[in-house]
């Protein structure tokens, strides 16, 4: 009986493995390529060329699934997080998929590169810089404005996705304060560069964002305009007025609400008959010892 069960589960595991293994390339493109390249230099995250030889399979699985938790246990992972400034978002991919990705990376890592290991870190904008016309830094004012409108939701996304401001904030004089659910994007362009922004927007690696845009992805034009806007926002940030209430929302909002509620309560008590009309008479009366 026991043997039978083990046999079934093994065969299921094998079959699922074989089914997904072929998709290594597809999964990599969908899940990893936004931040990682293979042999094309550092994007948002490190170049994954030869990672299959540098790290054990178990290490990679742990890191991909929950980098932050893993970082607390593993010194290498911690160093990695410290180097990039933020942990890699947790990826909702199965072990089999990760193995498929690793094998895909192994197939595509040129051997000589593994030997020399550290490829010189290319600049962040390197891949995007191929065509200067597509460089967000050179975007026209119209594109920047369009990007802002897309961000703020003033302009609908072509495929019906939710506008960025629902979850993100960008400090900008022309924008209202955005959501606090996800990271502040004011400096995202400085942090991640054109390639990173482009990668995240075309294939969002973060679970919440990924599921939001799974069925209604951004178009290339929208991505370009948003990148242009982020670029502009990052550089214009020093000139924009800081929206301090963003971080102090609780204090200001709570304080404001308290004032409003308190004044409504005060309204009830205003003009109220506050004391007995005989109070002055009672005060003049001589009190006997028996009652206080």
């Amino acid at each position: 009986m026991k043997l039978k069960l083990i046999g079934v589960s093994v065969s299921m595991a094998l079959s699922s493995l074989s089914a997904t293994a072929q998709d290594g390339a597809a999964v990599f493109k969908q899940t990893c390529s936004a931040c990682h390249s293979i042999g094309k230099g550092k994007l948002v995250g490190p170049d994954l060329k030869g990672v299959n030889t540098k790290r054990s399979e178990e290490w990679i699985i742990n890191f991909v699934k929950n980098a932050q938790a893993f970082g607390e246990k593993d010194a290498d992972a911690k160093a990695m997080i410290t180097e990039y400034g933020y942990p890699m978002p947790n990826q909702n991919v199965s072990d089999a998929d990760i193995k498929a990705i690793i094998s895909y990376i192994a197939e595509n890592s040129p051997a000589e590169a593994v030997a020399t290991e550290a490829a010189p870190a290319t600049t962040a904008s390197a891949p995007a810089a191929q065509d200067p016309a597509l460089d967000p830094a050179n975007a026209s004012d119209e594109d920047i404005l369009a990007g802002m409108n897309i961000f703020s939701g003033k302009q609908r996304l072509e495929n019906g996705g939710v506008s960025c401001i629902s979850c993100h904030n960008v400090n900008h004089n022309d924008l209202v304060a955005g959501g606090l659910l996800a990271k502040d994007l004011t400096k995202v362009y400085e942090r991640m560069g054109a390639a990173g922004v482009n990668g995240i927007l075309s294939a969002p690696p973060f679970p919440a964002m990924a599921s939001s845009y799974k069925d209604n992805p951004l178009t290339e034009k929208e991505i370009y305009q948003l990148s242009a806007f982020f670029n502009k926002a990052a550089s214009a940030d020093v000139y924009s007025h800081q929206r301090a209430y963003n971080s102090n929302l609780l204090i200001y909002g709570g304080g404001g609400a308290f004032v409003v509620i308190a004044s409504i309560i005060m309204l009830m008590f205003i003009e109220r008959k506050r004391k007995c009309v005989k109070e002055d008479i009672y005060k003049r009366q001589i009190k006997s010892a028996c009652s206080k």
């Binding site: 009830m268 109220r272 008959k273 009309v277 005989k278 008479i281 009672y282 009366q285 028996c290 009652s291």
Partner: protein, 497 residues
């Protein structure tokens, strides 16, 4: 013309001796119950004084009555927005201490106390808590100007008097006071009815008595705040508000209300008045300077054929119209014009009128040390009265001094006329000038004298048949009960019913 009938009253303040018999009669019948001990549906106040509840006339404190609002009136302390704002409490309500904490004495202790060195006493026990208490106030502790700094000098009506006039009222040989018995005014425009969110208060169609339906009352206590006369009281035991019912069970059997029946000074008169209900809004919202005239003008002449016809169309019984024609109230208020409403500026159009007190008859001490009772000194003119007219006008005419003076001239003329009849020491010219000045003749003076001094019970109280049978027929078909009621049995007879 929308003629309705209204039971109205006149209290003749010159005759009130401040004995509180009316209050006690009322208390024994109606408010000698748990939760009602502090209520005095009838109370007698001394004026100047703060009254009961203390300073009830000050609507800045209690927010009672109506205020003019364009061509209509709105409640001073209630209304939709104010009600919403104060939905969880009723901010301007008098508290128990504004009335007084009722108490009784433990008389039984006087009999049951064991023998000892000390005299047994009956301690005061609160009727609210049941605990021994320190008595701090009573319902009439301002009686006869007692506690003057606390009560009389705090009279709300003094705000219309200068400091010197106020002081004069408390100087020896210039001092004056009178009594002011008060019951519910059963107003034509009752603020209590207008304020009730539950619709528990209503004005009886047949006689205008204002009542609180105890089944519909939901203890909002808006009527307690809204009534500017503070004649609606909250019973903390039953959780319902109560007020003077004008002894309607007695009225329906042609008896005078208990307070009036028991009145020692026979100051009280009760009768029917016919009034035009269509005018109520216009009168209640008229300018304050006109309110007394407009108010008294709403009452119709019951002898006028047009009024009688309109009254019959409205279903007013012939017996009621006849009672209105004989009404002593109609004579005092409309024919003789010597009775005035109390605080007409509250705009509730009260149906209780007061003959203001012509006080006091001023004797002067002659040179030989005896009282000089010669008429020309005793019956000096209105302008030499001790009581400031301004004080009475703030009580009865919303500040119109001339109205009070007119009444006093008539009362004064009646006295001079009677003096002429009985003592015969008034000169013809003096009599004529006084009578002309007051605008009355000897015939009217005698009529006023007769109804004031010699009136019989039937003349003072002209109570129409209540016609309850008609009221019942409006609600039920009496035919349904024919043959089903009659003789009652405590135990069923053996043969069955």
């Amino acid at each position: 013309m929308n003629v309705r009938s209204q039971i109205s009253m006149v209290f003749h303040l010159d005759k009130c001796i401040g004995c509180h018999t009316c209050s006690v009669a009322c208390k024994n019948i109606w408010t000698d119950r748990k939760g009602a001990e502090y209520m005095w549906w009838n109370n007698v106040e001394t004026k100047p004084g703060t009254g009961y509840p203390t300073k009830w006339e000050d609507q800045d404190i209690y927010q009672g009555g109506w205020v003019k609002n364009g061509d209509t009136v709105s409640l001073k302390g209630a209304g939709k927005l104010k009600g919403l704002k104060n939905i969880f409490h009723n901010p301007n309500m008098p508290v128990l201490d504004d009335y007084y904490e009722p108490w009784a004495y433990r008389y039984q202790d006087l009999f049951d106390a064991p023998e000892g060195n000390d005299q047994p006493i009956g301690r005061a026990v609160s009727l609210i808590t049941g605990e021994p208490m320190e008595i701090q106030a009573g319902p009439n502790w301002d009686d006869d100007l007692s506690g003057t700094p606390d009560y009389a000098r705090q009279d709300v009506n003094f705000k219309h008097l200068s400091k010197a006039e106020q002081e004069a009222m408390f100087q020896l040989e210039k001092m004056t006071f009178h009594y002011l018995p008060r019951i519910c005014n059963h107003c034509l425009n009752p603020a209590c009815v207008g304020s009730c969110p539950s619709g528990a208060l209503y004005k009886r169609g047949e006689d205008g008595v204002v009542l609180i339906n105890q089944e519909r009352c939901r203890a909002w206590r808006m009527c307690v705040t809204a009534c500017p006369y503070k004649k609606s009281y909250y019973n903390w035991n039953t959780g319902k508000s109560e007020k003077c019912v004008l002894c309607y069970p007695r009225l329906e059997s042609a008896q005078a209300p208990a307070c009036m029946h028991s009145c020692v000074g026979r100051i009280r008169y009760l009768g029917v008045m016919l009034y035009d209900a269509d005018q109520i809004q216009a009168v209640a919202s008229c300018d304050e300077s006109q309110i007394v005239d407009r108010h008294l003008g709403i009452y119709l002449d019951p002898h006028d054929p047009a009024v009688i016809k309109a009254a019959k169309i409205n279903g007013i019984a012939d017996s009621t119209i006849k009672a209105a024609q004989n009404s002593p109230v109609y004579k005092f208020v409309k024919e003789w014009k010597i009775a005035l409403p109390l605080h007409p500026e509250f705009r509730t159009l009260p149906n209780l009128f007061y003959v203001p007190p012509l006080l006091p008859a001023m004797a002067s001490v002659s040179e030989d040390g005896k009282y000089d009772t010669v008429s020309e000194h005793l019956l000096t003119g209105v302008e030499k009265l001790r009581v400031p007219i301004r004080y009475l006008s703030s009580l009865f005419t919303a500040g119109n001094d001339q109205k009070v003076v007119d009444v006093f001239k008539r009362l004064h003329a009646v006295r001079v006329s009677r003096r002429n009849t009985t003592v015969k020491d008034v000169s013809e010219s003096q009599l004529n000038s006084v009578m002309n000045d007051a605008g009355i003749d000897v015939h009217m003076a005698n009529a006023i004298f007769r109804l004031t001094s010699l009136a019989t019970f039937e003349e003072r109280f002209v109570i129409p048949a209540a016609h309850r049978e008609e009221a019942i027929e409006m609600l039920e078909n009496t035919g349904d009960y024919k043959g089903s009621t009659g003789f009652g049995f405590k135990e069923k007879p053996a043969r069955g019913l």
